[in-house]
Symmetry: C2
Subunit: 168 residues, 2 copies
């Protein structure tokens, strides 16, 4: 038997690990982003936001008398799958980065949507509120990447047509 509170703790730990992956992903992207400098301010802003999200999740765990230190199996599995996605994105194609980021932000948004329900069911409305707030931030970021796609694609095609430095 697993109580809603047990599941909530377990999923918040997953979320903590997920934010760790998000931070790594954003740092890599910011480092590699050569040909789309106009995206840097938003990426840096979201990196800062992501660090704060991780702290928020830690506070939620704290409120439940738990800590994020115990790496659960599912968190590690998630890590492995995200690593796969990041590996696919470590090609220098800014477009693949963007497609991966969009999907990753959506994955995060979905996780927090599920966490909201878990927090409500466990009688933790404050945690539910935090999860909703983070969910909206992830959705905003996903939408922003989505909006960039046509312009990024055009730019990529133009660079690609003009020669060798095009792949980035």
């Amino acid at each position: 038997m697993t109580t809603p509170r047990d599941n909530l703790i377990s999923w918040l730990r997953d979320a903590y690990a997920m934010e760790g992956q998000a931070i790594e992903l954003l740092e890599t992207q910011i480092e590699r982003l050569e040909n789309y400098p106009e995206a840097l301010p938003r990426l840096r802003e979201h990196l800062q936001q992501t660090r704060e999200q991780q702290t928020e999740v830690e506070r939620c765990l704290d409120r439940l008398g738990a800590d994020p230190s115990t790496l659960k199996e599912s968190a590690m599995k998630l890590g492995a799958s995200m690593q796969g996605m990041m590996h696919a994105m470590s090609s220098d194609e800014v477009l693949k980065h963007a497609l991966g980021s969009h999907a990753f932000e959506q994955f995060e948004a979905g996780s927090y949507r599920s966490l909201m329900t878990a927090a409500e069911t466990a009688g933790e409305p404050q945690i539910a509120q935090t999860c909703e707030q983070i969910m909206r931030q992830e959705q905003d970021m996903a939408r922003w990447v989505w909006e960039q796609l046509p312009h990024m694609t055009e730019q990529y095609l133009r660079r690609s047509e003009s020669g060798a430095e095009a792949k980035r």
Copy 2:
């Protein structure tokens, strides 16, 4: 130098491979879905839709005098990353499946959004139209999964609290 047409062909091949992954993913989900039978009709419908999408992509390649048979490196990389995600989802947790599906459908939607621009730039409005249509189908499916999340989470928590058969 890579022309917009070259990139379009290359990305349509990626999309063909991606739809192949989507078919595998949906077949696995349909097979494993024990505790959420109400989702079956929509999943089966989307499986059928996905097969048609793959055929549509093949027709686009055909129109460009290309075929999907040459597996490109990037398609294989994508395959590997999706395999990672599917591996994470091969745990029997219906919720992780749903989170992964949502992200995957969003990944597909983003890919077709980028493909739309590529097709327009390559002077292929008919292909752009096909990509837009598929993009909307992926968005619809992603939205559907998104809408299921709270209810699925509740059901999961209830089963989880009632005992051992809860993980599915």
